[in-house]
Subunit: 156 residues, 2 copies
DNA sequence: CAAAATCCTATGAAACCACTAGGATTTATC
DNA sequence: GATAAATCCTAGTGGTTTCATAGGATTTTG
C-alpha cells in the first residue's frame, strides 16, 4: 500500500520540468537534478518510460534536454504515475476479473475495485497544470476538508 | 501501490471467521483453513496481530479456536487492514507532515494525503457485517456505478 | 494423561526497490 | 571536424520486504 519513490520522483520531475521548460526550451537533466534534489543518475531512469509514453520529448546532443510533449493541462496525473509504475492495480483482481483464483471463497474483489477506482479518480481529476498553478494547494486542501466533513475550517 | 496477500488473506480470514463463528463457538484454524483455502500454517501468523488489536479472541486447548471479539458491525474494514499491515500510509508524508524532507522542492504532499483519505474513507465506511450481508455485492456495485458516472445501469 | 489446539521463533526463497556505474551515441557549437 | 554536453543503453548490486513453511513449546480441555 505504498507509493514508491519511483512514482513520487517521477511526478516531482514532471513538476520541475513543467516549471523550467515553460518557454519551450529543452531543459537538461543536470538542471532538473539541481532544482529537484534528485540524483542525476536516477533521473536518467525516470525519463525513459515518460518518453515511451510520449509525455516528454527529448532533444539529444549539446544544449539538448527535455520538454513536455503536450500542454500541462493535457497531462493527467494518472498518465504520469502509470507511465512510471504501470497501471494502477491495488490487486490483480481489481483490474482483471479472471485473475481471481479464489472467487469461490473470496468476496473481496468489488472492495478492491472500489478502492482502485477512488485512487484513479483522484489521479484522473487533476492535471499537471493544476499542480503547477498557484491555486493548487488551496484546491486540494478544500477537497481534504470535504473528506473530513469539517466544512469551513480556515487554516491560513 | 499493491495490497499484499497479508492484508487480503487477513480480511478473508475475518470473513470466514464471521461466517463460521456466528453461534459464538470458537472455530479452529483447521476449519478456517479448509473453508478459506489459506494454509493452516499461514493462518497462524495472520491471527497474531488480530489478537493484539482485540479484533478476535482465542480460546486455547482442545476444542479451542477463535471468535470475533466484537459484533461484526462494530469492526470496520480499516480496523482489520490496519491490524494486518499497520496504518494506511501511501507515503510517510501523507500521515506525518514532519516526514517530508523535501518540502522546499515538493508540492505533492497534499495529493498523497488526498489519496490516502480516499482509501481510508472506503475502509472506514464499511464494516465486517456489511461484507457478511446478502446485500454486500449490490451495495458496492452501486458505489462503483456512481464512481463511473453511469447512473442506473442495471446488471442483474 | 493425551489430544487438539494455540503460540513462539526461525529461516529460506523470491520479489521488489533504490540507486550506481560504465560507456555508447547524438548533436550544437567552436 | 573536433569537442563538449547532453541523451541513451545495459548491467548489476545491496538492501529490504514479503510470502510462506517448518519445528517445536505451551496451554487447556476431554
Amino acid at each position: 500500500m505504498k507509493i514508491g519513490t519511483r512514482a513520487r520522483y517521477t511526478l516531482r520531475f514532471m513538476i520541475a520540468l513543467g516549471r523550467l521548460s515553460s518557454k519551450g526550451e529543452p531543459v537538461g537533466l543536470g538542471e532538473v537534478s539541481r532544482s529537484s534534489g534528485i540524483s542525476r543518475r536516477y533521473l536518467d531512469h525516470l525519463v525513459v518510460p515518460l518518453k515511451s509514453a510520449s509525455l516528454i520529448r527529448a532533444k539529444a546532443g549539446r544544449a539538448g534536454g527535455y520538454v513536455l510533449a503536450r500542454p500541462a493541462d493535457d497531462i493527467r496525473l494518472g498518465d504520469i504515475i502509470e507511465a512510471a509504475i504501470g497501471p494502477i492495480a491495488v490487486t490483480e483482481c481489481a483490474v482483471d476479473p479472471e485473475a481471481c483464483i479464489a472467487a469461490e471463497f473470496c468476496d473481496c474483489r468489488e472492495l478492491w475495485m472500489l478502492i482502485n477506482r477512488r485512487i484513479t479518480a483522484v489521479l484522473n481529476d487533476y492535471t499537471l497544470a493544476d499542480m503547477l498553478s498557484e491555486t493548487w494547494l488551496a484546491r486540494v486542501q478544500h477537497e481534504l476538508r470535504k473528506a473530513d466533513h469539517e466544512p469551513e475550517l480556515a487554516r491560513i
